[in-house]
């Protein structure tokens, strides 16, 4: 059994590397966008799409599908990459990111197959996910709802309103994923507007908090399973990550929050990602 688990983990690691490469290529072609947070959450979302989420790219409207919503919409290159890789649309489309008339807008938009609700204005996505989660309850269906949050994003008050409501309504089919890479546009989170003690904050709001290394596939898969097993309250996976993960010269460099790589940098990045 151990060996099949190991194989699965290896496959996911390999997939995540490929997804990172797609992200870099898309951003390089687009000439603008947000590599840092797309790369830092790549392992979390690759694991979600290829080992956890119950969905059917050939039947995107399947009523019982699990829902995913990317609240930190600026990291949509990652979302687009996993959607294309899953088969929601041809991969060639990735190179149209941010172009006039493209189905791949600069921030998530419903014209993209697989994107159910637009995002981009931070702080609203956890509420959107809560709405999806409540709909599941109303329809008596078992689907789960996953929502990716940014660490800078949770400085928004709307997030904590949603956190309060999700635990009030005992939404155990709701799982938030926090990409805790420690940086926002203006600098280090702790210097701009500190969030600690973060685990205690979510616990105080009634959530089950799971703290992991967001680049360790085994920990990631365990966390998704643990979240599924928790009953009577929502879960959040607080994933410690490295901004720009996977491209050495982007790692922990705040400049790459919102700047595309140059031609030279792209070449180097692709070499690293293989």
């Amino acid at each position: 059994m151990a060996s099949s688990d190991d194989r699965k983990i290896q496959e996911l690691q390999e997939k995540a590397r490929h997804i990172r490469r797609l992200i870099v290529e898309m951003l390089a072609r687009a000439g603008s966008g947000h590599p840092g947070g797309s790369l830092s959450s790549a392992d979390l979302i690759t694991a979600l799409f290829f080992a956890v989420l119950r969905h059917d790219p050939k039947n995107p409207g399947w009523p019982d599908r699990d829902r995913f919503h990317m609240s930190k919409g600026h990291c949509c290159p990652l979302w687009y990459a996993v959607l294309a890789e899953s088969g929601y649309f041809p991969k060639e489309k990735l190179l149209t990111l941010r172009q006039l008339g493209s189905m791949l807008q600069g921030h998530p938009d419903r014209r993209t197959p697989g994107v159910e609700v637009a995002s981009g204005s931070l702080g609203q996505g956890l509420s959107v996910a809560l709405g999806m989660s409540l709909a599941a309850k109303l329809d008596n269906t078992q689907y789960r709802v996953y929502c990716l949050l940014g660490d800078g994003e949770i400085q928004e008050g709307n997030i904590w309103e949603a956190a309060m409501a999700a635990s009030h309504y005992k939404r155990d089919n709701l799982c938030a994923i926090l990409d805790y890479n420690g940086f926002q546009i203006d600098g280090k989170i702790e210097e701009i507007m500190g969030l600690e003690p973060l685990v205690a904050k979510w616990q105080a709001f009634g959530w089950h908090a799971i703290e992991i290394d967001g680049h360790d596939m085994k920990q990631i898969l365990n966390a998704y399973q643990q979240a599924k097993d928790v009953k009577g309250r929502p879960s959040i996976i607080i994933a410690h990550t490295v901004k720009g993960k996977g491209v050495s010269f982007m790692e922990n460099v705040v400049d790459f929050h919102g700047r595309a790589p140059s031609t030279e940098e792209t070449k180097k990045a692709i070499e690293e990602l293989g």
């Binding site: 609700v117 609203q124 509420s127 959107v128 996910a129 709405g131 709909a135 109303l138 309103e161």
Partner: protein, 309 residues
């Protein structure tokens, strides 16, 4: 004497009526359910009612998630908190997605009364008019409130329906409510009066007095602010001496401005605005406030007279 009704009573009753036949109807409120009357729905259908406490931003964005899963979502609060407070949630997450979210705001305008300026939304129509996809209805009385709610359910997409706090008289007319079409109270006239919401009743009184004075009046109830009945406006511009627009709203950005935009670009005539003249509200009884802010039938009469003198 005309029957007096609370529009919000009709809203609550209509929700219950709809809840019985359409399981997709879900209702959200933010700690004002007894005032907005969504409490009536909550009592009948507790599983389909969600109170989010004093947290309107979350309520509004949650409505989008529910709508994305096929629900028809009614979202209610006072107009002050259902629009400006959550404008970005409405813009980016409701209107942009073109979701089936029906915002029904009560306690609009200065007739909120003694609560004063902090609770008197006089900018809400302007805020909603800015948004593509957003349909806007300002019903004039109780029965029309029901028509507006039924319309919002029948038609896809986001709606903003604006209701008041106080009781309003039920108005008599031979012409039925038709979404997107001005309701004609009186067709032949030398001047036109266009009104919405509670100002229609004031306009009816003004029209009667003007007719008694020998000034005939075309009177239109422009209940639908978007999509706007531009044909009715242009016909009035062409065939009468000018237009008086009456609304319990700022003269900036509301119905008057919408009418003015149509007239100015196509057939310029004088458009006079009976509305709140770019100032904040204050405490007072509704009737006192209408007088203080020049929103009475005699203010409408004066404006109409100036168009023919």
């Amino acid at each position: 004497m005309a029957e007096l009704l609370y529009q919000r009573d009709i809203y609550g009753k209509t929700l219950v009526e709809l809840g019985k036949v359409d399981p997709r109807i879900v209702v959200l409120d933010a700690d004002l359910s007894s005032s907005t009357r969504t409490a009536l729905f909550a009592r009948e259908f507790p599983a389909r009612f969600f109170n989010f406490g004093v947290a309107e931003q979350n309520m509004m964005a949650t409505s989008a998630g529910l709508a994305s899963c096929g629900k028809i979502v009614f979202v209610s609060s006072f107009a002050m908190f259902a629009t400006g407070r959550v404008w970005n949630q409405i813009r980016n997450t409701v209107a942009y997605n073109n979701f089936n979210v029906k915002i029904v705001a009560t306690h609009a305008g200065i007739t909120v009364g003694p609560d004063g300026s902090s609770h008197q939304a006089i900018e809400d129509i302007a805020l909603m008019r800015l948004l593509p996809n957003m349909n806007i209805i300002v019903p004039c009385d109780g029965p029309q409130t029901r028509e507006a709610i039924l319309t919002a359910v029948r038609r896809d997409g986001p709606f903003y329906i604006r209701l008041g706090r106080a009781k309003v008289p039920t108005l008599e007319t031979n012409n039925a409510f038709e979404f997107g079409k001005a309701q004609v109270f009186n067709q032949s006239g030398r001047v036109t009066i266009i009104a919405c919401g509670i100002m229609v009743a004031e306009a009816v009184v003004a029209a009667k007095n003007l007719i008694n004075k020998g000034i005939s009046v075309r009177l239109l109830n422009m209940h639908t602010i978007h999509p706007l009945d531009t044909e009715a406006i242009l016909d009035s511009a062409r065939n009468t001496k000018g237009i008086v627009v009456c609304e319990e709203h700022s003269v900036v950005g509301g119905l008057a401005q919408a009418v003015d935009e149509v007239v100015a670009q196509n057939h310029p005539v004088k458009v006079l605005r009976v509305g709140v003249k770019h100032r904040f509200g204050q405490s007072g009884e509704p009737q006192e406030l209408l007088k203080e802010y020049n929103l009475t039938s005699s203010d409408i009469e004066k404006a109409a007279c100036s168009l023919v003198s």
